[in-house]
């Protein structure tokens, strides 16, 4: 249909990742008691960022026919 789906996926997940990473950096460590002490916002945010950027990179390097 002309719109490469990897672009909206990449944009959305990059944006979500940035929100999680920023919040992970500034949030009170006490809230991580429930996630067994891990700062999951920061950690998982980084994984989302890798995924989002990879999607964008893939659509940029090899455009859909």
């Amino acid at each position: 249909m002309g719109l490469d789906l990897r672009i909206p996926i990449g944009v959305l997940f990059t944006a979500l990742a940035l929100v999680l990473i920023v919040y992970g950096l500034v949030s009170d460590p006490a809230i991580y008691a429930r996630s067994l002490g891990f700062n999951v916002n920061l950690g998982w945010g980084c994984i989302l960022l890798v995924f989002g950027v990879a999607m964008l990179a893939a659509s940029w390097r090899k455009p859909e026919k």
Partner: protein, 565 residues
């Protein structure tokens, strides 16, 4: 559970993305084929992921976790003997006929292969079923958001139905498919942290097995009944599902799963939208790959949840007003237990996304069937393409409104999964016999198909009316005519209903076909497997070749069954 601004921001970003996709696609949706079939232009991986996500509405995400808590690992039968073989069969043998015949919908294939009345029967029942499913999905969402976040039931229903309406209205099937793929990734990324944290907390797989052994023994089963799939299926009474191996393989594995995955237009529509025959064949098989692993994301959290309730200082499972465990809250409870503000927003977004795609999938299938198979076939044939596009858009609005009405009706039933199984058993179970005979037996006739379908559905209703599950009250649960047999569980009863319906339809179709005149062979080219030339079109990527991928996927399913035997 309270959401903060950060969680709200995450939900907001998702809604923004969904609407933006609709807006961009609106300008590219010019013909009815764009609207109903994405102009047959979707790449295989997108069609495949959408194929998989389209069924992940309430029944999958909330229902599978609920079943995981209720029945344990045996719930994986819905994947490892249920979905996977059926999806592979669809890709290998049925897609060449669906796609190759240029039918625009599953009922339209029936029209091409058989006749108009068979199509009308199928189209009408299917349209009804999509509305029911969509309503159930919406009801589950309204209830859940009310319980979790205190949002008023009515508000969430109308608000999220509104969002779905906006993006489907604008971009049609493409919009729905794109959002289903988005939802697929949201579910993976939203639920994976819960599973990881839950497993770490309970002491890994070994810890889970130890905890569930207590649960299992408390309920009167063997210690490993909750953490194995086949070992206790020798008799229905010795496993939590209450179903024996024959019912599991024949009822669920063969009749129900093939009936659902191979003939449900909601799913097949995604593969029909693919850009080429080879992509259409790859789509269901590509979808089967994540499907193999999804029990870890949707069933495991339910198992962990019930395991944790039996640990000191663990978790108290929410109760229903009558004092029984409210299994449907297993997944949301796990989200609330492990995810801090931030990731919690992502988890809730994943839940909402699944509800919305469930609804959108139904609405897009409904509007296509309504427009092509009911409106164009019976009310106004030979109108302009623009007219049908317009009708499709109106049907989208009407479909959403009907779903909302269905949601209010669904509020009367409590176990979503059992109700869905029941509806599928009546309508879908006989259907697969019709397709099997239609696609692989050139002698099958239209009269035969129609008689088979009708008698199959009636047989299903009769069987349901004459039998009941232990401890069930006669009524919607069966036994509304006379009780001549009692099953150990509702699921066992449902699987048997499906087997009876399928067999009746199969036998009736064969008998009536033999008594009526067959269609000449020339008219059946492209519609019957033996009369269709196999095109050897080049597959761009060798590892996506269905003949290589299919045995690989089936092999993996076998390994998983053996691993957790």
């Amino acid at each position: 559970m309270r959401l903060t601004i950060v969680d709200g921001l995450i939900i907001g970003l998702y809604v923004l993305a969904v609407i933006a996709i609709g807006v961009v696609l609106r300008r590219r949706t010019k013909t009815s084929e764009d609207f109903f079939l994405s102009g047959r232009s979707i790449p295989a991986w997108v069609a495949g992921l959408a194929f998989m996500s389209a069924n992940m509405g309430a029944q999958e995400v909330v229902g599978m976790a609920a079943s995981g808590a209720k029945y344990g690992l045996a719930t994986s039968h819905f994947y490892w003997v249920g979905a996977i073989p059926a999806m592979v069969f669809l890709g290998l043998f049925m897609m060449p006929l669906y796609y190759g015949s240029q039918a625009r919908s599953v009922p339209e294939y029936l029209k091409l292969r058989f006749d108009e009345k068979t199509r009308a029967l199928n189209a009408a029942t299917f349209a009804f079923m999509t509305i029911i499913s969509s309503g159930i999905s919406m009801y589950a969402m309204g209830l859940l958001l009310n319980l979790l976040l205190g949002w008023p039931f009515e508000l969430s229903i109308w608000l999220w139905a509104g969002v779905v309406l906006v993006y489907v209205f604008m971009g049609g099937l493409t919009s729905s498919i794109y959002n289903e793929v988005l939802q697929f990734f949201l579910i993976v990324f939203g639920f994976a942290p819960v599973v990881i944290l839950g497993l770490v907390d309970i002491g890994g797989w070994a810890g889970l097995v130890a905890n569930l052994a207590e649960v299992s023994q408390q309920r009167g089963y063997a210690a490993d009944a909750f953490t194995t799939v086949w070992r206790h299926s020798g008799s229905a009474a010795s496993n939590p599902l209450g179903v024996g191996w024959f019912s599991i393989t024949m009822g669920l594995g063969f009749v129900l799963s093939f009936g659902y995955w191979c003939t449900d237009f909601l799913l097949v529509q995604r593969a029909m939208a693919a850009h080429s025959l080879s992509a259409a064949r790859q789509a269901p098989i590509i979808a089967a790959i994540p499907k193999l692993l999804f029990p870890a994301l949707v069933i495991l959290p339910g198992m962990i949840a019930i395991g944790l309730t039996h640990r000191t200082g663990g978790l108290s499972f929410p109760l229903k007003p009558d004092g029984s465990l409210n299994y449907d809250l297993a997944m949301p409870m796990m989200l609330a237990r492990y995810l801090p503000t931030g990731l919690l927003g992502l988890g809730i977004t994943a839940l909402m996304a699944s509800f919305m795609s469930g609804m959108a999938g139904n609405v897009t299938a409904f509007n296509a069937v309504w427009t092509y198979d009911l409106y164009q076939a019976h009310i106004k044939p030979n109108a302009t393409d623009g007219h049908y596009l317009q009708v499709g858009r109106i049907a989208t609005v009407v479909g959403v409104l009907l779903s909302i009405a269905a949601a209010y009706i669904a509020a009367k039933f409590n176990n979503i999964m059992d109700l869905l199984q029941l509806v599928f058993a009546f309508v879908n179970a006989p259907l697969f016999a019709t397709f099997l005979l239609g696609m692989f037996w050139k002698r099958a006739t239209g009269h035969g198909a129609f008689a088979g379908l009708l008698s199959g559905t009636i047989a299903a209703a009769l069987h349901h009316g004459l039998t009941i599950a232990q401890h069930a009250v006669p009524g919607v649960k069966g036994g509304w005519l006379l009780i001549i047999h009692t099953y150990p569980s509702e699921m066992a009863q449902d699987f048997s209903t499906a087997i009876v319906a399928w067999t009746t339809c199969f036998v009736m179709t064969v008998l009536v076909s033999l008594a009526t005149t067959p269609r000449p062979k020339e008219q059946l080219r492209g519609l019957v497997y033996s009369l269709t030339k196999r095109e050897h079109e080049g597959v761009a990527t060798w590892y996506l070749n269905p003949t290589l991928l299919a045995p690989l996927v089936l092999g993996c399913a076998l390994v998983l069954n053996l691993l957790f035997w």
